[in-house]
Structure formats: C-alpha cells, structure tokens
Symmetry: C2
Subunit: 351 residues, 2 copies
Amino acid sequence: MKSESDFRLSCPIPIEEYPRVLLAHGGGGRLMGRLIEKIFLAAFRDSELDRRHDSAVLPWDRGRIALTTDSYVVHPLFFPGGDIGSLAVHGTVNDLAMSGARPLYLTAGYILEEGLPMETLWRAARSMGDAARASGVRVVAGDTKVVERGKGDGIFINTAGVGFLETDRLIGPESIRAGDAVLLSGDVGRHGMAILAVREGLEFESAITSDSAPVADPVLALLREGIDVRCLRDLTRGGLASALNEIAVSSSLGIRIDESLVPVREDVDAACAILGLDPLYVANEGRFIAFVCEAEADRTLAILRSYPVSAGACRIGETIGETPGVVSLRSRIGATRILDLLSGEQLPRIC
Amino acid sequence: MKSESDFRLSCPIPIEEYPRVLLAHGGGGRLMGRLIEKIFLAAFRDSELDRRHDSAVLPWDRGRIALTTDSYVVHPLFFPGGDIGSLAVHGTVNDLAMSGARPLYLTAGYILEEGLPMETLWRAARSMGDAARASGVRVVAGDTKVVERGKGDGIFINTAGVGFLETDRLIGPESIRAGDAVLLSGDVGRHGMAILAVREGLEFESAITSDSAPVADPVLALLREGIDVRCLRDLTRGGLASALNEIAVSSSLGIRIDESLVPVREDVDAACAILGLDPLYVANEGRFIAFVCEAEADRTLAILRSYPVSAGACRIGETIGETPGVVSLRSRIGATRILDLLSGEQLPRIC
C-alpha cells in the first residue's frame, strides 16, 4: 500500500502549481481540461475515455444489459481495507453481479469541494482506476463538478455500471420458492465497523479492515456451473438484516435464519458489543446472500468456497411459506425473535 | 407551470409527517424505503425501477451502445425555463444524441442535504420524471444518499445515460475535414444568463428563460435523412467558444467563425453587456453545433429548422486546414481575433 507522501510525490499536478482544487477546475475551461487529463485520464487509462467525447461508444452483442447506479459519500475518504475510489467500483460491479450480469463498463461522476488537496483527489482516482482494472471493468465516461467550500465534503463519486446478462434466468425475489436455502458468502459487519473505528478514533486490539471487494467472479461461476440461482443480494447499508427483510417482503415469503450460523469475526463482535450495535445491521461491501433450491445448496457452497472472496460461504437458513414478509431469527440461546427493519441506519455515510 | 404551493399539497410524504429530509432517509432502512417509494417511484413511474432490485435488466439488440454521465449541481435548483430535475434529463440525453445515439435509459443518483424540504425534493423529482417521459427515455435505476447539513447543497443529481447507436458512422472530431460547414442550432447564452439573473437577483425588462431542452429528435432526423454528420457537440459549460476550441484541438483543424452570424437574443446581449460577459462563453443546455460537409449544409439546416428546438439553426463558419487548433472570429466590425479557451468559467454551477 502506498503512503500519503507517495501520492504527494506522484500527483501529476505538482503541489507547487495547484495544491488544491479550485472552483475554476469545474468550469469547462483550460483548468478543467488539465484536471481531467492529468488526474482522471491518467488514473483510469481507457482509450474510449481518452476520446473525451460526450458519450462513450461501446460494442454490444444481442442480449440483455443490466444497468445500475450508486453515489458514494463515505466519510472518511480512506479507511482500513479501502477508500472511496475502490468502494465506488466494488459497490457498482457487485450490484451488476447481483443481477447475474458480467460487469463491463463504468461511468465516474466526481463532485469535488473547492479546496480539496489535489493529492487526495489523485489518491482516490488512482485507487478507482486500480480497482476497476482488478475487477475487469473499464471506466469509459466521466464528469467533474466543483462546488464551493462548505457546499460539499471533499469528494463524492457517482458510478453507473453496465453489464451483460449471462443468464436467461430472472434472478430476483420473484424467483424464490418456499424451502429454498439461504446462503451467505462470508462473515458480516466488517465494512461498517472499519469505517466507524476510523471516524470515531476508536482503538481496537487489531485494526478491523473493510471487506470491500468485487464478487462477480464467484457469482458468474455459479451461473456457468448451471446452479439454479433464484435471487442474489449484496449486503450494504442496513446489513444482512435489511437485505433479508427487503427480500422477504418482495418475495412474499418468510425467511428463517439461525444466528449461530452467521459468521461474525470476534473483533467485529466485540466492537459491536462495546458500541451497542448489532452486526446483523452493520454494512458490508463484499458480502452477498444467495437463494438457491435446497438440493443445490451444497454444490453452490463448494463453488463459492473455491474463490477467496467467498471462501467463508455458509448456509444460514431457509425460506418458508408461512409468515410472508417476516424474517425470524433463532438466537444463540435458542429463542426465536423477529429480525425487523430499522427505521434509519445505525451508521450514516458508510458508503 | 405548477406553483410551489401545488407541490406542497401534492407531495406524497405529507408535511405533517416529514417536512424535511433526515439523515435517516439515506440509511437503507424503513424511512429510505418510504422515500424511494413515495417520491422517486411516484415521480419516475417505471416498471423496471419498481422492481427495486440492484440493477435494471434491459433488452438490447445487437449493435453499439453509447454511455455517458453528468452530475448536476446547479444553483439555484429552480430557474426560469427549468430546474435541476429537467436539466439532469436534458443534459444527459443531449450527450447521447451528440454521439448519434437514441437515448433510451437513465439512472438517477440523488445526493440530498439533511434538512432539505421534502416538497423541494418532490418538485425536482417530478420535474425529472416529466422531462424523461417528454424526452422518450426511462429512468430505470436510482440511488439516494443523504449527507449532513452543511456537507452538501440541497440536491445534487447524477444521471448516467445509455443509448442505442443509430449509425455506423464515427461521429466525433476525428471525422471532421477541412472545408466542412459549422452549423449552430439556435441562439446562444440563454441558460447561463437565466441562472445568473435569478442567482444575483437581477431584474431585466423581460425574464430570460433557459434554453434547456432535449435535442435528440432533430439530431436523429439528420441521421435518418442520410446527412453525413461529421461531429456534433452540445454547448454547455464554457459555451460556444469552449466547444469550438475543444473540437479545433481534437480535430487538428482551424475553425473560422463570423460573429455576426451567431444569433444572440437582444435581452441576453444587453444583460451580458451590463455584466461584462461574452455570450459566446455563456452556457446553454439546448444548443449544439454540427459539422457537416459543405455540400450538405443547406439540407441539414432545412431539417434542423423543421424542429421547434432547432428552428433557429444557422451557418456560423467553416473549418480550415491552416492554423490547426485555433478558433478565429471575424467580429461585427470586420476585425479578426482569436477566440481563446478561458482558464476557468465565467459562471460556476450553472449545470
């Protein structure tokens, strides 16, 4: 991992020239042209982006596309295990993967606050470019705006993603049947706790690192292997509990989960206990749930476990025909309670 | 046009319940679900958006797609002739049209500031939905984030757009040849001056209204009629002068423009004169330039003039093999000067 001073030295707009972003860097003139060329084109390196035309023009085969968008307002911009740039890639490619699509193209819309250190922008953009290449997607269109000091917060990034549907199946809550197995791709709660620890200056025995990562490879492997994937959902804001609740409502089925089967790392669990948070509601950025028919659950787990990002995949429960829309949790001490949707969010701005 | 009190009455989240946006409205819980359902799904009305899955899944024919993105941080949010919602549609569909693509799908990423009046959000979202339907595009994916008071500015909207390429031609600066005609779709400077007048509380004899409008219809008509369109560019930040400069550099050609041929409305011209602004650098949102071979210039103008949005189309100059990268302007008094790129922007946050 590069240090901050490495980014100061490598920043293509030298600190002597423009140490900070000016309002004029968003103005459509010479300064914006230089910002785009020196920072964004250098960070994202794509021939289509280099054309700098109004739209990227991209080849397409007959079929269906998936389209998604997310804005990233995470605070702080850099945290153990990731930063706003890599998050803006992972969050969006994961949304595409959840539809059974191979992520192909990203757009990048930056809203910068006047006064942002230029090296901070470079560091975030570099990380975004690196994460895109590592995830096998191209950043092919972009936009930059600058708002006055106090009207933004450093960097906001919006990414939209386009993917190619690799299946004819409709992957979504409407495809789930009663008796399907509910699988989880790994331990939960790391991303939210990593952010919170930095934000609040908390010191735990070991640094909790975010689970932020792209998950398209294991998902596409399931489809390639012919697994009858009913529904996929990545666990972001609101965590596992919120995702299960949304799906229970959309599918008009009940979901039954066993708390003892949901992996939570010891340090995450301890930090949650200290802060009075429930790890089932804490955000993740590299975790997803998969609903598959019971007969294929073991084969699905074996495929997922063969990829590092989902090596900790496990079965956590099943869907039931009774209590439609309700998620019930069998706790570690054997009691059953309803796992409800929270009204707001335990932790704002974690993505 | 609806009045503000109409929006207060029609806002689907009643003022007694949540008069303003809370941080929790961005938290992934029950409140966010309600905000999405009551405001965004009601405003955008699309079956694919209603699925509320991670990505929209869309049919596609063999061919090429165009992909673009823009963030909108316009201040104020509402202005004569438009608002941030309609602008977020027009700006993005116009970018697609500039590649010769038929705009089809939009994404909508909203970054809201805590405390935003709910009716303001409703008004902007409604306008965006109306503008999308009027432009023939569907809003199929969305995202909502809320940042703390003082970390944003009311509403920022990012839209990404996907379009279908209706031509095999490469429409871009690389296709321009020396001797091509430079056509302009109508009078310039209205959008920037409309924004500025509201922002600065200036009173002119008549209110200047923005030219914000979708321009895909006349552009696609040119392609349908077989016009050999070399390059198209919409005139946004930096105005006509900046667009011409970018194209002169990218095409390695000179561009010669006649100032007396560039239409500027009398009220815009007068307002610019008072404020010391050059209308050639002022932003537009419904104007574009087209480069076509000289022999087809008249037929192109006839087609453009048959559409209300480009009824004022005219020829303003031509490309030349000499002075590559330079835009020269023959002024009204007959002198020739170089029309340079400004360093920043005359007016920040006009889009």
